[in-house]
Symmetry: C2
Subunit: 208 residues, 2 copies
């Protein structure tokens, strides 16, 4: 049994969708960002970083989407659900795809609302915010033209990278980027959003 | 045979050290940042992101340290070199460790010299630069107190996470943080730096 600590709308949604796709048993715990619960003593014992996602497992707590997604896929594969390529190089390519979302795309997005992580002045935060649409466009231009193999992120097979890309694509609107600029990404976003497991995860998130 | 595209002093050093530790055959190609070679047509064909590291393999190009390090470890394990835990959860923890270095620590560091990625104004860049030591301290405080299992990053066994941590620890000085604030990290940095493969990788880098 897994317990996923998440916040609705945050990047934890990727790990949540992966769990929903996996067929593995899980429960959810909402971390209330509005009440700064991620900085509470109780949550810092789960994840000293004070961030979501954090996945409680029978072996201990796992953090970082890149690691959690791969671990869910690995665990699911032993239960018969295929959420990652079996070939080692194809798996590594999926990890590279996910690592790009984590360390470039998510970071580009975070400069809009989380500028206080990296600068103090209001003028700096405004400057950062103004760059968000362009930086998100740069990232999604590469995804559209180079990385999104199609129809799924890594090609013919659905993988946990699709869940992660779906979450990042869903942030474009609030970053003032029209997803229609990237037709293949837009098509992917609609198709992944129609999956029963994704619908179920979004319903679960909304009900927390 | 692997070909690693790198720049001396950049985070590509982590993948380079992993190759040196692996016993696998590799060659190096320097990407000359001073000549903006990472934006050249030739290099963008290798890695459209215009970044290092990029690892050419017989199957294609792999990017992102998190993915490259795991792939080198996986390939090395088939040749008898143990550079990652065999246990799936322990492996996932290593991936979480590396993902934290990539998406939090490296990003914190990059705000010192690469602020133009996220903001336009000189005042914003100065503001970001001023926050770098504090943000690096926050990251290394967690590494020191929570994540560095000791004696190696993940415990008793050397893994590719040690190569990556070694590179990030080596950036503290230029970020105006005294590594001595973090005694366990400092001890790790010295011990990893004394490994023959690390010395060889640094010599190879200097000779490029």
């Amino acid at each position: 049994m897994f317990t996923l600590h998440l916040s609705p709308g945050a990047c934890s949604r990727a790990s949540h969708i992966a769990l929903a796709e996996s067929g593995l048993a899980y429960t959810l715990k909402r971390v209330k960002f509005a009440e700064a619960e991620q900085r509470s003593e109780a949550f810092l014992k789960v994840n000293p970083k004070g961030r979501v996602p954090a996945l409680e497992t029978e072996h201990g707590v796992l953090t970082e989407n890149v690691a959690i997604l791969a671990y869910i896929a690995d665990t699911a594969s032993k239960a018969g659900a295929l959420l990652a390529p079996a070939d080692p190089f194809a798996f590594a390519r999926m990890q590279a795809f996910n690592a790009y979302l984590a360390s470039t795309v998510h970071v580009a997005h975070a400069h809009g609302r989380r500028g206080a992580r990296w600068a103090d002045q209001a003028s700096s935060h405004a400057d950062m915010l103004a760059r968000v649409p362009g930086n998100m466009r740069d990232g999604f231009r590469l995804i559209e033209d180079e990385f999104l193999a199609g129809p799924y992120a890594m090609g013919e097979q659905y993988t946990v990278a699709d869940a992660y890309l779906f979450v990042m694509s869903g942030w474009l609107k609030s970053d003032n980027v029209d997803i229609a600029e990237f037709p293949r990404v837009a098509e992917h976003f609609v198709r992944i959003g129609a999956r029963p497991a994704v619908k179920r995860a979004l319903e679960e998130e909304a009900s927390l």
